[in-house]
């Protein structure tokens, strides 16, 4: 009795069958989708990991730090006026102190959550760019 591996007769007969064929534009459809995929990948690769928005936020943050440093030692509006003569320094000082008083009243967990969230977004962007590098 023949084993399935040695059934050459059956093998020959099965090899003679015509397989079902897909539509005539099958390859075209596949290649269209392939090229779409390729252009998405190229677009992702060209996008920087740290986008423009990130740098704008960093710049604002640095500006805020600079302002804090400038005004941290100021106890009177007269001193602030000397540094930046053309603004309403008294109003600015009141607003500045009020903002940071309120900020200081927030629990530190809020800062922790914001920092953690930012790091996760950065990690996701970095990993996405690494994944597209593989293609």
């Amino acid at each position: 009795m023949k084993k399935f591996e040695n059934d050459m007769e059956l093998r020959e007969v099965i090899k003679s069958i015509q397989l079902e064929k897909p539509s005539s534009d099958f390859t075209t459809n596949v290649m269209n989708k392939v090229f779409q995929e390729r252009s998405v990948v190229v677009q992702l690769k060209e996008e920087p990991v740290l986008g423009k928005g990130f740098w704008v936020i960093i710049a604002l943050f640095v500006a805020l730090m600079v302002i804090m440093v400038i005004f941290s030692g100021s106890t009177s509006s007269a001193e602030a006026n000397a540094l930046i003569p053309d603004i309403n320094s008294e109003g600015l000082l009141i607003g500045y102190r009020s903002f940071f008083d309120r900020l200081g009243a927030l629990p530190s967990s809020i800062a922790g959550i914001s920092l953690g969230f930012s790091l996760l977004i950065l990690l996701e962007r970095y990993l996405t760019s690494k994944k597209t590098d593989l293609v």
Partner: protein, 188 residues
């Protein structure tokens, strides 16, 4: 169309010449589509699934290491895509117990089938096999994949593949035997 080795086209695609992927699609589209059609039983859905298999293969091409045959790797993607679709749509695979195997059918001489009908008869008989056995028969006899390669495609153990192929072959002969008997009865 004269084909070079699969690795030639794969290298070209990885280097960025995406259009070379069309050679891969042209070479394997019939068998990928046949597998999908057997599972989904609808030409439109089968075409979509077959297309999806090729897109997945393209996306993962960078991970193909060349240690196994490319066809084995592609069929594995096709097989897994089919399984996902089956689970998603809760498609029931035909029961493997529906066809009662007759041992005497195995002694049937395939030469007894008229040559002009042989291809049609075999194809019709294969269509009556359950989906998983159809695929195994297609991969083993038509594509000449080894038991080990089929094991890699399906994730079954080697002994499981052998048992399924053994049963599929017996079933195929039983179906052919019944078909020939029916034909004879019709003639008489």
């Amino acid at each position: 169309m004269e084909y070079k080795d699969d690795n030639y086209y794969i290298e070209k695609v990885i280097q960025g010449q995406t259009n070379y992927f069309s050679y891969i699609v042209e070479k394997y589209k019939d068998i990928v589509f046949s597998i999908a059609l057997k599972v989904l039983k609808n030409r439109e859905d089968a075409e979509e699934l077959a297309q999806e298999s090729f897109i997945k293969a393209f996306k993962a091409l960078h991970s193909f290491k060349g240690t196994a045959k490319f066809s084995t790797w592609l069929y594995r993607i096709t097989y897994n895509t089919c399984i996902s679709e089956v689970r998603k749509n809760k498609i029931r695979f035909a029961s493997t117990d529906e066809i009662q195997i007759k041992d005497e059918a195995e002694e049937m001489n395939l030469d007894g089938i008229p040559a002009e009908n042989r291809e049609k008869v075999i194809k019709a008989a294969m269509e009556r096999l359950p989906e998983d056995e159809y695929m195994l028969v297609l991969l083993f006899y038509f594509e000449e994949q080894s038991v080990d390669e089929i094991r890699k495609v399906t994730g079954l153990t080697e002994s499981n593949v052998k048992v399924k192929l053994y049963r599929a072959r017996k079933k195929l002969y039983t179906i052919l035997h019944e078909m020939m008997k029916d034909d004879l009865h019709t003639i008489m």
